[in-house]
């Protein structure tokens, strides 16, 4: 079962391989908004099983959001090779210095995975292998041992031979190579291909990705299949949330809410509405930790309607300082435009408060107080 480019990229991103910023769009208006948010020129790519979309003239480029909307309007609804285009990946256009090929497939004769890499990316690997075999490296992998460090190193050195005076990118490449193999085994892939992997602004990005999941393994890859009545875009979002154990529901308001547990979150929504605030979402996360709270903040990052965010932490089983570090990580990395109000009580509360102060946040102890506070700030921004 082949999966869509955006799905393959999501698997890669989760494994720590960078991909260009992107959003899914199924209407011209959505594409235009997506381009607006992404900023700068974008690429519009139909999410279909059609191969060689570029050759078929199904990939569009746009310099402005208006152009993106127009191009999306022309692509959406078109039929090609029996498939109707109903979803586009709107992706930041990336300029690059070098294109590589990385792929994992199966050696059916020996019954083992094979890693294939080439210094020639962006073209069909079969033709490179025929015309310039010296530009291709293949390594058979032992399923038991997995891809060894030595193999990853060999492949990385082949792709980017260490040169005097040049930046050594071998470590990053090794990491990407290992991540690819991790995705390949974890998701029961028959085939996983990044073509091209590009060097852009000094680091590597997966510009296109293809994957096929072994249909005989779907019984243990249930999250790879989409329930009926759900669009690809909805499915995509839900899948991500489900994987993290989140229930996320976007509503009309402007105050983002980051809390753990359905009951307390509903209580916060009640308090907020009663106080005249407009909650932007319902979120129920599983048990929270530093990484989890950092990840959850991303829900609000690309949402222009969010004016403020309220975080509620009741550290009964977890620790305030750990969660505060997650907030600190996010604030330091993204410097978000929205003010963040934090209610925090529980284990290691004082240590947590101290950490938040370093990013200019004074934690509030009372739940009701925190709700009142976030509403006040939100109103002052209107």
């Amino acid at each position: 079962m082949r999966i869509y480019e955006h799905e393959a990229k999501q698997l890669l991103r989760q494994a720590g391989v960078s991909v260009p910023g992107s959003e899914l769009a199924s209407t011209a208006a959505q594409a235009q908004e997506a381009a607006q948010r992404l900023g700068g020129p974008v690429v519009l790519k139909p999410q279909t099983m059609i191969k060689a979309r570029g050759k078929a003239g199904l990939i569009a480029f746009a310099d402005t959001p208006q152009e993106a909307g127009q191009a999306a309007g022309e692509l959406l609804g078109r039929e090609h090779a029996g498939e109707k285009i109903d979803t586009l990946l709107v992706e930041a256009k990336v300029g690059f210095d070098q294109e590589l090929y990385l792929g994992i497939t199966v050696d059916y004769t020996e019954g083992c995975p094979v890693f294939i890499a080439s210094s020639e990316g962006g073209v069909e690997i079969e033709s490179v292998a025929q015309e310039h075999p010296e530009r291709v490296i293949k390594r058979s992998i032992s399923p038991g041992q997995g891809l060894t460090k030595e193999q990853a190193g060999e492949i990385a050195d082949f792709l980017c031979p260490p040169k005097d005076g040049a930046v050594d990118r071998s470590d990053e490449l090794r990491r990407i190579i290992a991540a690819l193999y991790g995705v390949y085994t974890k998701f029961d892939c028959e085939m996983l291909e990044v073509n091209p992997l590009v060097l852009a602004g000094g680091s590597f990005l997966a510009l296109d990705a293809t994957a096929a999941i072994d249909e005989d393994a779907l019984f243990r890859q249930a999250e790879m299949v989409r329930p009926r009545g759900q669009s690809e875009a909805e499915f995509e979002l839900e899948k991500d949330h489900r994987k993290r154990g989140w229930t996320f529901l976007r509503m009309e308001g402007d105050i983002g809410i980051l809390s753990s547990g359905a009951g307390i979150t509903m209580a916060i929504l009640d308090l907020m509405r009663a106080g005249g605030g407009r909650p932007a979402n319902f979120l129920d996360t599983a048990q929270m930790n530093r990484q989890g709270i950092y990840d959850a903040f991303h829900l609000f990052l690309d949402d222009p309607a969010i004016k403020t965010v309220l975080v509620n932490i009741f550290a009964g089983l977890n620790r305030c300082d750990d969660l505060a570090l997650g907030i600190q990580d996010f604030m330091t990395e993204y410097r978000p435009s929205f003010p963040v109000v934090v209610r925090m009580v529980g284990n290691r509360e004082d240590e947590g408060r101290e950490i938040l102060r370093q990013v200019g946040i004074e934690a509030i102890a009372g739940l009701e107080d925190s709700v009142t506070q976030v509403i006040k700030i939100t109103e002052s921004l209107s």
Binding site: A262, I264, M266, A267, A274, G316, L367
Partner: protein
Amino acid sequence: MSIIAFKDTKVLVQGITGSAARHHTKNMLAYGTRIVAGVRPGAGGQEVEGVPVFNSVAEACASRPIDASILFIPAAGVKAAALDAMENGIKLVVIVTEHVPLQDAMAIMEAKRRLGATIIGPNTPGMISPPEKTMLGFVPARYFRPGPVGLASRSGTLTYEFVSRLTAAGLGQSTCIGVGGDRIVGLRFREALRKFQDDPQTEAVVLVGEIGGTMEEEAAELVAGGAVTKPVVTYVAGHTAPEGTKVGHAGAIVSGTRGTMKSKLAAFERAGIGVALEPAQVVKLLQEALK
């Protein structure tokens, strides 16, 4: 005293060798829970936190008396494990697991009726009886104190929020039960209420509900019928949720006439039950009731 689980309740942990199970076993033992055995097919003879592990529930039950079991088992295996416990004579089973299939839950409930067992959950952080120093689950024990308030809640996180406020206000707890967030759960508000009514130590009861389902209405009908005479205070999360939206736990789909906030509030009013519209009111209403 408390309800359901006591100082001398002998507890089995099914699936004891998993990492979450190990962690929670340690915490439960530290709190005082008498965990006497664990089960994990193939791991018989091992020990986890000093607790002997058996290959099957039958083996464990043959070796020592067991009153209750807590399951740390993935959703697909919960039905078999719960049935196994009940069929070996265990009368209290706590199921923390989320996403148990509906038809499996129904089979468990039928077995519960047939064998006269009590099921807590699925999808619950469990229960705690502070006067008895017994916890079956993973609530943050440091917030709980022995005292006169019985609490049953559909939400784990709200339980912690309320209990910390109760404790801060000097109101300890007799027993606190997370009844579970699933659409089908074993012990419901009405059963909890009956038990709290019969418990000499419990002087007042807090019910923490949510939109959706009919547990709140059932509880109100029990009170209205006169079966419960102790004061009952309730809080229901989601009272501002727009009708027709699906929020909260899996079952909280607001539709029809029962299950809505309106239906719940009306039922409480008919029964003369105090309703806190904000969390802060719960403590106040309780303090008044206990005067």
